[in-house]
Subunit: 360 residues, 2 copies
């Protein structure tokens, strides 16, 4: 009877069915809009994954009825040119962004990163008009996310004063009058949607606190994926271990330390605090492990995982070992298809912004 | 007669006399203002160099009649506390920035970086109100610098639309009516002032083109020092080699490639283009070599330097070999004292902004 004791593999959860749950919503919004939104993709490098992702965006857009225009510049443009002076990696990308900002016929802009490296790319991310920022990379959107400000007055995007929190409710799904939902960065949002799909978020709990009771490890603390994700999850009630190369921090909105007067003045939101736990200790008590390490060699050790945990791989590389499903109850190998749906949701939301507060 | 042929050492140019040339200007502006400006320094780490720099800022401020308040938070605050729960590196820094943004009695904010690393630090740099950003790290100031927009309407800092160039003259020292000089990041500006002092900028040439004819190598391409510096120098007419770990680019405002329609619409400004030259080849033809590599081991090879060149060390470490003055005609070992003067100039300029366009 040995077969009875044979361990059952954890479920493999692919992105397609999760993405499909948003397709009807996106399609309904598109029909209601009554025109084709126009998304411009800006490709400025010779990177094969970026080219692949651009074609993937095009396919998804065309399938759903969104106009997609790929603007090539720099090294991406060189490849289409037989002769003449070659441009370099990333050359002309800032000009392409500015032109797209100024073109009233364009609803959304997405730029295929990485281009120059984190510092210069971060500068470019701030150049994209917040009214066209489908990826949600403008610091104003990150500010709202970190401070658990869920709704905004779109006209505040026109103002430098957007760094002041607006006094609106947190624990409601319905935006208060005069406000709309704030844009969230695509990839962290897609991961949250995957976690909702696999039941990590508990709908019986109040909105804004549905991850309460869950311990989650997020491996990566970049401004694009790991830190916003850790903050989102902690703002939703989870206890989050944020793991980076040189440190581990705990993110929670239920801090045991006395909150400062300043913190109390704002929305209840996560605080980050260093922890003395090792990665192994974090993993052993985590209900969910999310890894986004852009390195072929990095592997989360299966042996450290808690039995029955949920693992989500966000990296283009496989961050989990072959045997991950021997320990995990569910394994999500990729979130890219969900990310694209979030991008299109953001595009539709930005069109809503423009209707409420026309851009400059 | 061997002594006649003995090589003479290049001049050692210290920061103090260069800083001193700005002291009278700063003092005159302070007297004209008729009140003590208030600068807040935010120290959030246990880093010894940051602590040292904060004390240095205090001394310079007190000497010149600027009120300096050091706000400690996170690990910097822990050290002053005998007992209780310790905070971590950088903890509470964002709240401290927001409080200083909101405090009308505060004229300028400086934050002692590095805190979390380039990505999260870049986010914090965008949180500082542009009206109080004495370090000039807001992306709007960088945008103006990169696009050679020298004057701004201060009220445009209140608007997201500041990414559109204003149509004002470039080649004039006097701001056109309704505009003021745009804030430049402290460290790159201090380096330019050093180069003006040692005669790299030629005052006989028209304003805005006074580095024309000079070839300059800048080693480091961070968003805080190297890239803005390379752009500043190229916008002033120099041919600049921008050297980073994995690539060398040439910055020039006299490109040989045909400019795009988009580029022509904006102010004449530098373009960046990859070069096939090696570092050795760049150094051998450079009139000026500026190095800002934060690494003890990195040394610019003296043997590659052009005879009689000018070398500027911006790093806290010594980036030039012992024998640099055997080749260089002048050597500037540090620019920190000039940087502080630029910071106080920026503080006074921001007070001017507030008078023209009260912040939110």
């Amino acid at each position: 009877m040995a077969s009875e004791h044979q361990p059952r593999k954890g479920l493999l959860i692919k992105g397609d069915p999760i993405a499909a749950t948003f397709q009807a919503e996106v399609q309904a919004s598109l029909e209601k809009l009554g025109r084709k939104p126009k998304l411009v993709g800006i490709l400025a490098t010779s990177s094969a994954p970026s080219k692949f992702y651009a074609e993937f965006t095009r396919k998804q857009c065309e399938r759903l009825g969104v106009e997609f225009i790929l603007k090539k510049t720099g090294a991406a443009e060189d490849e289409d040119r037989e002769e003449g002076i070659k441009k370099g990696e990333g050359e002309g990308v800032e000009e392409a962004i500015i032109e797209a900002n100024e073109d009233d016929s364009i609803d959304g802009i997405m730029v295929y990163y990485p281009i120059f490296g984190v510092q210069q790319d971060h500068y470019l991310q701030q150049i994209v008009s917040p009214f066209k920022d489908v990826e949600g990379l403008n610091f104003k959107f990150h500010y709202n996310l970190y401070h658990n400000i869920r709704f905004i007055q779109p006209q505040s995007l026109n103002q430098a004063s957007s760094t002041l929190p607006v006094g609106v409710e947190v624990n409601t799904e319905i935006p208060p009058p005069g406000t709309v939902k704030s844009i969230l960065p695509c990839t962290p949002l897609a991961i949250v949607k995957c976690l909702e799909h696999v039941g990590v978020y508990n709908k019986i709990l109040p909105y804004g606190d549905r991850a309460y009771g869950k311990t989650i490890t997020v491996i990566n603390r970049s401004e694009v994926v790991g830190r916003p994700l850790a903050a989102l999850l902690a703002n939703d009630g989870a206890r989050v271990f944020s793991v980076d190369i040189d440190s581990i921090q705990e993110y929670t909105k239920r801090p045991t330390t006395s909150e400062s007067a300043a913190a109390r003045r704002y929305h209840p939101h996560h605080v980050a605090h260093p922890t003395t736990l090792t990665l192994e200790q974090c993993l052993s008590q985590s209900d969910v492990v999310i890894s986004a390490v852009p390195s072929e060699g990095y592997k989360v050790p299966t042996s450290s995982l808690k039995d029955g945990c949920i693992c989500v791989n966000v990296s283009a590389e496989k961050n989990f070992q072959e045997g991950v499903r021997d320990k995990a109850s569910m394994y999500v190998p990729a979130v890219g298809k969900v990310t694209i749906m979030m991008l299109l949701r953001n595009l539709l939301r930005l069109i809503e912004y423009k209707a409420v507060a026309p851009g400059p």
